[in-house]
Subunit: 579 residues, 2 copies
């Protein structure tokens, strides 16, 4: 959309914001209407290519926007109302902040005239003051949000300043891959701004504070280490994806020409092709000890896009010699013991790729790829269907470009055992808020279609987790989502049973839910938009996941009947070693 | 429970907390388990009389706890897990803070050993630091919670101090009728404390900082005004209930012996019997102008338990002469133009009642009670069922002691038109977070049974609102709740359509939900625990609400088919006058 096509010299600030969003290629805005954002929201219709995705509640909308941002690489957009809406979404925003999901959170707030009114006017949605007779702080939520966002703009009545702030926040969100807020007072939604600004798109690029000379010194150091190495390993970690450095990484791998060993982490599964002959495995610390043993014997490890968190780093059991390690992070570089937060991987990696001479690299030792759980001989079957069967079936049926969303449920611990062939995993295992995966399915699916990306969305969801955000299944029908969701019906919080209180009633749920009827109940009486299957054994699972009829445009819900205490081996190990 | 019955000298701090809760008469603890609270939660089984009410998500649990506190007058107890859980609940906690609902929020946090560890350990559920290499603030959520709570205790490893803090927070919650937090690190859940403390129950009483002499000066002033008045009015407002002064108020009314005119507010409906001959009406400012005209002509108004907020005060259209007004507030007294925050109604009201000589009061003018909407002649029917019919049917069928929960939906504006005969209204019209009423039904119902209170719970819920918290219907089955819930099926956010965008798609919802099948879908296949009725006309409504079969112990869901734009007259008026 070009500003010229608007045929007017002024537009509302609301329309301005929506145009800026569309200019990024984004077409879906998630949220819930509320009386403080209605006038803002009215102007979404001024930007015809944008779609309002009305979610059932704000937390679900935040999860959907998070997954939209993670899948598209651009950002997810969330729109909520003052107080009640933005606080409901806060857990989802804090999750996006923690997990580096780019998210623009638009909030319609109380009117500027009330913010400036010295009287005590106890407006609805405005949190009460400690003293009943004093004026409440209209900015209390903005202060709370500072803890979970990289930038924010509280718009007032200066049109030019408002536009500048909007542009700045959008750029901050993109650069930091984390949430930023725009607060628009409800009486400012129609403020007129100059349309001409829109003719210059926001330039999405990283900014570096360090002179190239200094960066090049580091590049030379790293190259020297690489040229000296006889057994180099590369960990392709998730910040490569989150900070959009896949192309640079793949260019480097191409120059290295199969001479170094490759690893993924739990969060980055799919970033390197696991059928690559140099792929050794998923580094998950001591919980995947055959892999750990190999990588920890390297004489140099380049940890590209290091995402340091408990779940991604095998519960803090990564054990690499700091002298033989180079960490590429979006906020720092660490070369051996030398740490520098004034440079980062976005600056270093392209320079490194440019200067790298692949001829000078010595081939690393070749190892036999350690066998994974699913490749081992089968133990005698005690149950008709287990999570191991699910790993095996996914390995047969996941295709390149697929997006596999895995809930923070027991099955999360099976992710390292799944073989990814350029498919992508989306999970929230660091923030680890159960209930994420179901609405994330909505967001990821819309991101694929908005950005014309290939692949399908397949979601693994626990039954306890699904309870948290159930109603968003309704949106799958409303917005014609064709994803597949596997509900692990194992009668409660199985991941928690593994940790504490296996038989404690607090780990029970109402286990009588009729998953087979749920989508009918949400309105698809004739199953025109959805299909539901109960899956009780591996053959049924393969049949459903591998069906020819897969791409029929319908949402598929597979209910997997699993034993109450069936959990992946790695969860058992993690629990037994931490207690 | 007496400490002696424990037969041991030490118990865990977890058990201590649960005993303190039980000592208040509370028997239900609402929440969701999570790995940081599991060890805490294990000890709920040490206190056999306490029941764990596992909710589907934390926001719903917060709403349920809020309504439990509002209904019982003691407090609601909420238990969540670190970060993900407590933030999910935050909107509900902020609502309780804003609306003065007593709530004790227990949070299982990260381990004390990790809080004290100087290393950067990016634990799950711990919000990331702005800088990826720095240690996150383990107390970030505690700081956020300060905005929405009156007191908090972050327990550490000193047993005696921990017990003191627990007792202090519980007392603060009760005294301020607002949320307080107890944060228990997961590795402290088994810390041993002295059981002897439990033998002295926490003394629930208000504390006054002002000497009785000073208070008595005010009492004399008020009495002088009362004895002089020829046309006195009393507004019985909601803080009377929230600060447990009903008995004192009724004692005063008894002494006044029918000589003054009585009013309720929207939030306090039911606090005075609306069949009392002196009851004039619900003061709702200019939106109920016949009532406003009468009260505003009084020569003295005692505003007992004034709860000053937009919805309760007719959108700031209360228009009383400050010189002829005495405001009784839990945090201040205002007598004419004299304001003093060092005294409050809990101190003044009992003294006033004690000293009042009813003989000296002149009878106020008697007015004919203004007719209410539902008493007016019926207009020709355009639709088979409207919200006016609902008002009429409730008036026929609400009984004394009933608890009527009204969602922040279009029907909220009809509350002033409902006649209350010592029934109680529970709403959240100030904080106004839609989705409240459904889980509140769970909390209110359990409060009635835990405290052996008479009456039934009847809930009015909008369909757009019900979407927000739908899954908690499942808990009605799990915990055998026998409430009645009326779903207003009007295809979307009708209250918002009245404000902005009547035909805008963002005010639509997926309107195809099969309400009649919802409870079956949540597991009550044979309708052993629930009944569902579709209601399309006033006769069906009366039949359902007035059924002989009402008290059969089942949860009842009535789906009312209503026109999309049908709203109470007062909502139309409020919107047209504010735009």
């Amino acid at each position: 959309m070009k500003a010229g096509s608007l045929n007017k010299s002024e537009i509302t600030i609301s329309e301005y914001i929506f145009h800026r969003i569309l200019q990024l290629g984004i077409k879906s805005v998630f949220g819930v209407p509320g009386d403080f954002n209605l006038r803002f929201l009215e102007h979404i219709y001024d930007v015809k290519e944008l779609n309002w995705i009305g979610c059932c509640n704000e937390l679900n909308a935040a999860y959907a926007a998070d997954a939209y941002g993670k899948t598209s690489g651009k950002m997810g957009v969330l729109l909520t109302t003052y107080g009640v809406g933005e606080l409901s979404a806060l857990n989802g925003v804090a999750g996006a902040y923690t997990e580096f999901a780019p998210m623009l959170h638009l909030v319609g707030t109380s009117a500027l005239k009330f913010k400036r009114d010295p009287r005590t006017l106890n407006l609805h949605h405005l949190a009460g003051h400690r003293h009943t007779w004093k004026k409440s702080d209209h900015y209390v939520y903005e202060k709370v949000a500072e803890n979970f966002s990289v930038d924010s703009a509280s718009l007032e009545d200066d049109p030019e300043e408002a536009c500048e702030m909007v542009d700045r926040v959008i750029l901050s969100v993109w650069r930091n891959s984390r949430p930023g807020y725009i607060f628009l007072p409800c009486d400012m939604a129609e403020m007129k701004v100059d349309v001409a600004r829109l003719s210059i798109p926001i330039k999405l690029e990283y900014e570096f504070n360090t002179h190239a000379d200094k960066a090049n010194v580091y590049v030379e150091k790293i190259l020297a280490m690489m040229y000296k190495s006889k057994n180099m390993s590369i960990i392709a970690d998730e910040f490569i994806r989150k900070f959009r450095m896949e192309d640079e990484m793949h260019a480097m791998l191409k120059k290295l020409d199969g001479k170094v060993n490759l690893y993924s982490t739990m969060f980055s599964k799919g970033l390197v092709d696991e059928e690559d002959p140099r792929f050794v495995g998923t580094y998950f610390g001591k919980y995947e000890s055959p892999v750990a043993k190999i990588i920890e014997s390297s004489d140099l490890v380049l940890h590209l896009g290091k995402f340091d968190n408990e779940m991604n780093c095998g519960h803090f059991t990564f054990n690499l010699d700091q002298d033989k390690l180079v960490e590429f992070n979006p906020q720092y570089m660490q070369i051996g013991k030398e740490f520098d937060e004034t440079v980062n991987m976005m600056q270093i990696l392209p320079l490194l790729v440019e200067k790298l001479d692949g001829q000078k690299i010595s081939p690393a030792v070749k190892y036999e790829r350690p066998k994974k759980l699913y490749e081992l001989d089968e133990a005698p079957r005690e149950y008709s269907l287990t999570e191991v069967d699910l790993v095996k079936s996914l390995n047969k049926n996941i295709r390149p470009n697929d997006v596999l969303i895995v809930e923070t449920c027991s099955f999360l611990f099976a992710v390292p055992d799944i073989k990814f062939r350029n498919a992508k995993v989306i999970l929230q295992g660091y923030w680890a808020s159960i209930g994420y995966a179901l609405p994330a399915t909505l967001g990821a699916s819309l991101a694929l279609s908005d950005f014309n990306l290939p692949g399908r969305v397949i979601t693994i969801e626990g039954d306890g987790s699904a309870q948290m955000s159930l109603q968003e299944l309704s949106s799958m029908l409303r917005y014609n989502i064709d994803a597949t969701m596997l509900i692990l019906n194992n009668s409660g919080y199985t991941i928690e049973r593994a940790i504490t209180g296996p038989y404690s009633s607090y780990n029970d749920i109402n286990a009588d839910w009729q998953w087979g009827d749920m989508l009918k109940c949400f309105g698809d009486l004739k199953q025109e938009k959805s299909e539901t299957f109960k899956v009780q054994n591996p053959a049924e699972l393969d049949k459903s996941l591998g069906s020819e009829n897969y791409a029929n445009g319908k949402f598929k819900l597979l209910e997997l009947i699993l034993p109450m205490f069936d959990v992946p081996e790695k969860l058992t190990n993690a629990v037994s070693s931490s207690s």
